[in-house]
C-alpha cells in the first residue's frame, strides 16, 4: 500500500459573500497502510481536506502526493465513501453499484461480478446483491458504499463521516466491520469523524484540527492492540485526551464550537 504526503495545503472558497478559507497550511504525512482519523470542530475544513485528497477540489497552494505521485484530479487509486446514503445509484442494484468501478476499469462481466459478490460478502450483504438501494436500510446502504469503494481495489480509502447518520447500535457494528475489513485489506485510510470514541476505536493515529480555518493542531498515536475494548481504562484515557485537545474538558479553546458534536 502507499503513503500519503500532504504539504502546505490551503484552499479558499469563492462565494457570493466573499472569499472563505476552507483549510489553511495543512501538513500531514500518512504511512502506508496507516489508519488515520481526522477530528475537529464543525466547519473547520475536514471535508474540504478530504475532497482535496480525493481530487474533487484543487488546492490553492501546496500539494498532495500519494505513493510519491502528485495528485491531479480524481483517480482510481482512491476509493471514496461519503456520509450521505444517497451516494448509491438508485438505478442499480447493490451488485450493480459495486461492479461500477470495475466496469469503468474494463473488467469482464463474470470477473467483476465475482469480485462484487466477494466484497458484498465481506460486508455481510451476500443475501442482498439483487436489491435496489431503496429497499435497503441506511446501514446496509453504507455497507454497499464501502464494498463499492473497495471493489476496484484502490490503495487508499477516503471516508467522510460514513456512519454519522446511523443509530448508535448499527454504528458500533459498522465500526467493528470496518476494523476487520481494514485488517484484511491493509489499505491506507483517511477517516473523518466527529465522534471521539469512533476515532480511538479505529485509528492508528488521530489528527485534531483547529477551528475554522482548519490546520493541524495535534496528533495523537493510539498504540492500543486490536480488537479494542471501548470500556477499557486506556481507551477511555485516550478519549479524554482527545476531548481535551478539542477544548471540550478544559473549556479554554472555544468550547461551544465542539459542544455536543464531539460526543454525538
Amino acid at each position: 500500500m502507499v503513503p500519503i504526503e500532504i504539504r502546505d495545503v490551503s484552499l479558499i472558497y469563492d462565494t457570493p459573500g466573499g472569499k472563505v478559507p476552507g483549510v489553511k497550511d495543512v501538513n500531514l504525512n500518512i504511512g502506508a497502510s496507516e489508519f488515520v482519523c481526522i477530528v475537529g470542530p464543525s466547519g473547520c475544513g475536514k471535508s474540504t481536506l478530504l475532497n482535496i485528497v480525493a481530487g474533487f477540489l484543487e488546492p490553492a497552494a501546496g500539494e498532495i502526493r500519494i505513493g510519491g505521485k502528485k495528485v491531479d484530479g480524481h483517480g482510481m487509486d482512491r476509493g471514496v465513501v461519503f456520509q450521505d446514503f444517497a451516494q448509491l445509484f438508485p438505478w442499480r442494484t447493490a451488485l450493480g453499484n459495486v461492479t461500477f468501478g470495475l466496469e469503468m476499469k474494463g473488467v469482464p462481466k463474470d470477473e467483476r461480478e465475482r469480485i462484487a459478490h466477494e466484497q458484498l460478502r465481506l460486508v455481510k450483504l451476500d443475501k442482498f446483491t439483487g436489491s435496489y438501494p431503496h429497499h435497503l436500510s441506511g446501514g446496509m446502504q453504507q455497507r454497499v458504499a464501502i464494498a463499492r469503494a473497495l471493489a476496484y481495489n484502490p490503495s487508499v480509502l477516503l471516508m467522510d463521516e460514513p456512519f454519522a447518520a446511523l443509530d448508535a447500535l448499527t454504528r458500533d457494528d459498522m465500526q467493528r466491520l470496518l476494523a476487520e475489513v481494514w485488517r484484511e485489506t491493509r489499505k491506507t485510510v483517511i477517516y473523518v469523524t466527529h465522534n471521539v470514541s469512533e476515532a480511538v476505536y479505529l485509528a492508528d493515529r488521530v489528527i485534531v484540527m483547529t477551528p475554522h480555518p482548519g490546520t493541524v493542531k495535534a496528533e495523537i498515536r493510539i498504540p492500543l492492540s486490536r480488537p479494542r475494548d471501548p470500556l477499557s481504562v486506556e481507551f477511555l484515557d485516550f478519549q479524554k485526551e482527545l476531548l481535551r485537545h478539542l477544548g471540550h474538558e478544559t473549556g479554554t479553546n472555544e468550547p461551544t464550537k465542539t459542544n455536543g458534536k464531539a460526543d454525538a
Binding site: 474533487f56 480524481h74 438508485p90 469503468m104
Partner: protein, 275 residues
C-alpha cells in the same frame, strides 16, 4: 390526466383479492356512465334538440360500428397516430438533446434558455397559421407543429432533470474512474430519467391535444380531427361523436399502456418516484 387513472387502478389492485368486492367495484365504476347515458337518452328522445344534432346512443354506436367495419374509422385513427408518433419522436429527439445540453453546459443554457422562455408561453396552436403559411397545408406542417409544440415541456424537464442529478452521484462515479462519456451514460442519464420521463409524458399529452386541432386546420385528407371537422358540414353528429370516442380511447391508452409501463419498469422500480 394520469391521477384519475392511477387511482382507479390502485383501487382495482387493492380489491383484486376479494371476489365479491370486485364485482361491486366494477358496478361502482359503471354506474356513473349508466346515469349519464340515461340522461343523454332522455334528452335525445325528448326532441328538445333536433335528432340530427343530438343523436341517440344507439345511433352513435351504429355509426361507430359501421365506420369501423368499412375501415374508415381505423384509417383515420392510423393516420392520426402516425402523425402523432412522428411529431412526438421529433420532439423527443430534439427536446431531450437540447434539454440535456442546457443542463450540462452553462453556455448552451445561456443560449437556449432565452429562446425557449420566449417561445413557451405562446399557446401552441397560435403558431399553426404561421406553419401552414411557411410549410403549406398538409402533413409536413401538422407534424412539424406537433413536434415544435411538444418539444417545450420536454426541453424544460430534461434541463431541470440534468441539473437535479445529485453531485454526490457524479463524484462517486468519477472516483470510480468514469470518464465524461460514461459519466453521462451511466449517471447523468439515469439520474435525470424521472424528469425526462415526466417531460416526455407532458409532451405527448400536449402533442395529442394539439394534433386534433391541427388536423382540422391543416386540411389533411385523413385523420380523426379532420373526420370530426368534416362531419360538421353534413351534420353527421353521430360520426363526430364516434370520432370523439376513438380520440378518448387513444388518449387513455397512450397514458396507461405506454407511460405507466415505462415508468413502472424504470424509475418506480428504482424507487426514484413512488408508483
Amino acid at each position: 390526466m394520469q391521477d384519475a387513472v392511477t387511482t382507479i387502478m390502485v383501487d382495482r389492485t387493492l380489491d383484486r383479492s376479494q371476489g365479491g368486492e370486485r364485482i361491486r367495484l366494477i358496478a361502482r365504476n359503471v354506474f356513473p356512465f349508466v346515469v349519464v347515458g340515461g340522461i343523454w337518452e332522455i334528452i335525445a328522445w325528448s326532441g328538445i334538440f333536433p335528432r340530427r344534432l343530438f343523436p341517440t346512443l344507439e345511433e352513435v354506436a351504429a355509426s361507430f360500428v359501421q365506420l369501423t367495419i368499412t375501415g374508415i374509422l381505423p384509417h383515420h385513427a392510423i393516420e392520426t397516430l402516425i402523425r402523432l408518433l412522428t411529431g412526438f419522436a421529433l420532439a423527443g429527439i430534439f427536446g431531450v438533446t437540447i434539454g440535456v445540453l442546457m443542463g450540462r453546459s452553462r453556455r448552451a443554457e445561456d443560449i437556449f434558455l432565452p429562446l425557449v422562455s420566449i417561445g413557451a408561453p405562446i399557446p401552441g396552436l397560435a403558431y399553426a397559421p404561421l406553419f401552414l403559411l411557411w410549410f403549406g397545408l398538409g402533413n409536413i406542417s401538422a407534424v412539424l407543429l406537433v413536434g415544435f409544440v411538444s418539444a417545450f415541456p420536454i426541453i424544460f424537464n430534461s434541463w431541470t432533470g440534468v441539473k437535479a442529478v445529485k453531485e454526490i452521484w457524479v463524484r462517486s462515479a468519477q472516483a470510480m474512474g468514469a470518464d465524461d462519456r460514461r459519466l453521462f451514460r451511466h449517471v447523468i442519464l439515469p439520474g435525470a430519467l424521472p424528469y425526462i420521463l415526466t417531460g416526455l409524458r407532458l409532451g405527448l399529452a400536449q402533442a395529442w391535444r394539439i394534433l386534433v386541432a391541427v388536423e382540422m386546420l391543416a386540411a389533411v385528407p385523413w385523420g380523426l380531427g379532420w373526420l370530426i371537422f368534416g362531419a360538421r358540414k353534413f351534420l353527421n353528429t353521430d360520426a363526430m361523436l364516434a370520432g370523439i370516442v376513438v380520440i378518448a380511447l387513444i388518449g387513455l391508452a397512450l397514458e396507461k399502456f405506454v407511460f405507466q409501463k415505462i415508468e413502472n419498469y424504470t424509475v418506480v422500480r428504482w424507487g426514484m418516484i413512488s408508483s
